[in-house]
């Protein structure tokens, strides 16, 4: 153990340096007196958002508990399903993995249906078909990916033994890069033309990035994805129609182009890489007593450990995500010079999506992957001061 300590120290230091490099951003350090949500949102909106968010949090908890209980029990008894396989060790492992997530789907189904009912209660859109049959189809995709992943992991574990994680982590990082590169071409969408697109691209130094509108979504949202030539910005249809105004859309687009301008896709992949190695190592460590990932007996435990690790890293993941989103907001403010549009946009998000402007701390830690609406409005206020100071 003592001989390994220097190596571990070097690895930890390298990890820390990578974190420091990735954390750096163009975001200014600022501190404003916290705003009072009652001055920004009507009591009715605040009340509805508060009530709705309480239920949504409970449903999230229900989902997590269902997942953990099912996979916990499955980690102990799941191996019994090995007798339903004639597929050899790797095929059996794939079956066990798929069954585990299939049972989680079944356990979460009532929560999914309840979620839709809860959204309808507050006048939000949601589809029961999507929550049931739609998720069933999504499960098919998940099964396919899971089988592929398990085939790789178990194949590596059977070939190179306990060090499989060293080979598996780069493989999955490569796969994530491939997905990030290919996804924009798979999503389709229709072209979005607005007079400000080219100007924003010029200001953000991300030219020739197609902007596309995706139909079939209920919520106002947008995202940027892709690497190099595949970079795209996607706007969900509700955000390009009233009550959202062209000024707000310009702000949204500037925010998404900000992600691309600051290489957030690459940075996200790098963050993923930083967590992939220790994550894979911990799974290897946890499954060692069951014979390692080369045998199907380890699979139920491995997926339980994976889900627990994902849950544990959720706060860290949210910190990183909020940091990137804040930088994109700042980028949008600098590109549009329109803090009023940003503020109106975030205020409208409050009434349209019933997002809680100031959620409780545990919600902030576990669930919020964007800055809160209040924090985002605070930033628009800070920008006014900043812009005033910058102007001659």
């Amino acid at each position: 153990m003592s001989r390994r300590l220097p190596l571990l120290a070097v690895l930890a230091a390298a990890w820390a340096v990578a974190v420091w490099l990735l954390w750096r951003s163009s975001l200014p350090a600022y501190h404003l007196r916290p705003l009072d949500p009652r001055t920004l949102f009507s009591p009715q909106v605040l009340h509805r958002a508060d009530d709705y968010s309480d239920g949504a949090r409970l449903l999230w908890l229900g989902n997590v508990v269902a997942e953990l209980v099912v996979l916990g029990v499955y980690a102990i008894y799941g191996i019994r399903f090995a007798r339903e396989s004639a597929a050899g060790p790797i095929g059996t492992g794939m079956l066990l993995g798929m069954l585990g997530f299939g049972l989680v789907w079944a356990a979460q189904l009532p929560v999914g249906v309840l979620s839709v009912w809860w959204r309808h209660r507050y006048g939000l859109d949601g589809s029961y078909v999507q929550a049931t049959i739609g998720n069933w189809l999504a499960l098919a995709g998940a099964f396919l990916f899971l089988s592929f992943a398990l085939a790789i992991v178990m194949g590596l574990a059977r070939r190179i033994g306990r060090w499989w994680w060293l080979a598996a982590a780069p493989f999955f990082i490569g796969l994530a890069i491939l997905f990030a590169f290919v996804t924009p071409w798979l999503l389709g969408g229709r072209a979005y033309h607005a007079p400000y697109v080219q100007r924003l691209e010029r200001v953000e130094h991300v030219q020739h990035v197609p902007v596309r509108v995706l139909d079939g979504f209920d919520e106002p949202n947008a995202f940027a994805t892709g690497l190099g030539v595949s970079r795209r910005v996607f706007l969900w249809r509700p955000i390009v129609v009233p009550p959202f105004t062209p000024r707000m859309d310009e702000f949204v687009l500037a925010h998404e182009l900000g992600h691309l301008a600051h290489n957030h896709i690459w940075k996200s992949l790098a963050w993923y890489a930083l967590f992939a190695f220790p994550g894979a190592y911990l799974i290897a460590l946890a499954t060692r007593r069951r014979g390692g990932m080369g045998v199907p007996e380890a699979v139920p435990l491995a997926i339980f450990v994976l889900v627990v690790l994902q849950l544990l890293q959720l706060p860290l993941q949210n910190v990183i995500s909020r940091h990137l989103e804040a930088e994109a907001d700042w980028s949008a403010l600098r590109a549009t010079h329109d803090p009023a549009a940003g503020r109106q946009l975030f205020e409208l998000f409050g009434s349209e999506t019933l997002e809680d402007p100031s959620p409780p701390w545990w919600d902030y830690v576990l669930l919020e992957n964007h800055p809160t609406l209040l924090q985002r409005i605070e930033m628009t206020q800070y920008y006014r001061t900043y812009a005033a100071a910058q102007s001659p």
């Binding site: 339903e84 004639a86 050899g88 089988s147």
Partner: protein, 433 residues
């Protein structure tokens, strides 16, 4: 796979096949036109039967068994329908009588005497019969009960459509050409069609309160008096008695198969090139290349494993390699042997009729799989009859695959009965000893 091993007690509605496969070309050529008077007659009879069945339903519900007179009428109607079906589908040669007499036709029904029936089954008969009728519609039953309406330009039109059923209809169309050419109905097509008609008769007998025993889809039980065909070089092997199914894997069956379907697709692309290469080799050398033969055999076997899993013929999750002996339902494929060059050259064209039969069987297979899914989910075991029908369907598809991919030049045999091994040559055995 010997599905005759686990014998169940015989179904009270039994199909009798005393047909010698000989056909008259002239009557076959005009078969549909010749049947017109019969179709008119069965339409009229069907209208009368609607009232008979309703009265009989009340009687059976109250008294616990059908009224003897009404039962006799229903039996005559059923028998006549079967005779007519057999005539239309070329399963039998002679022109049937109009009365549904027992023993007057080569394809006949043995029907039970009126006996006690469970009242709850009688009460719910119409709903309980739906799955069997759906399967019968895929196979070949549902004659004039399919009396219905269709809206066209001339308003509502009523038709007693005679017989329907993908399997029997396909066999009849193919049989029509074969008979005109050879004067004989091919045994495989006759057996398949007779099976469809027999199942349809059982389904109808259940619906019309002749018996409260549910129709049995087991082809071996249906045709147990019929001679088995010679053993095909491509055949299924496995443990026929294992009907146990895991409810969890049944519930997620289709999703669990997704990786296999993707793998099958990718492997299939490579196999297409392998088959084309093997086609050239077989055409010039007369014998397939051993390496290609082995590769394609694995693919065909893997296809069978995946289909057996998806269509609920077997329980375990299959492997991805198509290896022999690892799956409960397995395929015996011959070693590469000399093949007729003519058959090789025109293989795709020759396979066309087999494709049609395979597609018809596939429709029934889909219905059987859906029904098996519900039963297996409830009972944790597949129904014997449906499983055996599905195995028959898979066996035929495997034979078609083997034929198309040049693993053998033996044409697929459509008979639902498994082939009988060649009789042992006692003299040769004694000499060898």
């Amino acid at each position: 796979m010997n599905t005759a091993m686990a014998a169940v007690d015989a179904h009270p509605v039994r199909l009798v096949v005393e047909d010698d496969l000989e056909r008259n070309r002239l009557t076959v050529f005009f078969r549909l036109i010749l049947a017109i008077p019969q179709l008119i007659w069965i339409s009229i009879w069907t209208i009368g039967m609607i009232f008979v069945v309703i009265v009989n339903w009340f009687v059976t519900l109250i008294a616990g068994s059908p009224a003897p007179t009404l039962h006799r009428w229903t039996c005559a109607y059923l028998r006549y329908g079967t005779h007519l079906n057999a005539y239309l589908y070329l399963v039998a040669n002679p022109y049937p009588g109009f009365t549904g007499e027992e023993g007057e036709y080569p394809i006949d029904l043995k029907l039970p005497e009126p006996g006690p029936q469970k009242r709850w089954k009688t009460l719910l008969r119409l709903f309980l019969a739906i799955p069997a009728l759906v399967l019968a519609s895929a196979l070949g039953g549902g004659f004039s009960v399919g009396y219905g309406s269709s809206r066209g330009n001339g308003g509502t039109r009523y038709s007693a459509a005679g017989s329907r059923g993908a399997l029997s209809l396909t066999c009849a169309v193919l049989g029509w050409f074969a008979i005109l050419a050879r004067g004989r109905m091919p045994k495989g097509l006759r057996d398949a069609s007779a099976y469809g008609i027999g199942y349809g008769a059982q389904a109808l007998a259940y619906l019309l309160l002749v018996t409260d025993r549910y129709p049995d889809a087991d082809p071996t039980a249906m045709l147990h008096e019929v001679d088995r065909p010679p053993e095909h070089v491509v055949r299924l092997v496995g443990n026929a008695d294992d009907l146990r199914f895991s409810r969890v894997t049944v519930f997620f069956r289709l999703l669990l198969a997704v990786p296999h379907i993707v793998w099958l697709l990718l492997w299939g692309i490579v196999t297409v090139f392998a088959v084309v290469a093997n086609w050239f080799v077989t055409l010039f050398r007369g014998t397939p290349a051993r390496g290609l033969h082995g590769f394609i055999t694995r693919y065909v076997r893997y296809t069978l494993h995946v289909y057996a899993f998806v269509y609920l013929v077997a329980n375990p999750f299959p492997g991805f390699t198509g290896e022999e002996g690892l799956y409960p339902i397995d395929l015996v494929v011959p070693e590469p042997t000399r093949q007729n060059r003519w058959k090789t050259g025109f293989r795709l064209i020759l396979a066309f009729p087999a494709f049609l039969v395979s597609a018809a069987l596939g429709y029934g297979l889909l219905v059987a799989a859906v029904l098996t899914w519900f039963v297996a989910l409830a009972r944790g075991a597949a129904p014997w009859g449906l499983r055996n029908y599905s195995a028959y369907s898979l066996r035929y598809q495997a034979q078609v695959n083997a034929y198309v991919t040049l693993l053998t030049d033996a044409y697929p045999h459509a008979s639902p009965l498994e082939g009988a091994p060649e009789p042992q040559d006692d003299f040769a055995e004694a000499a060898a000893a």
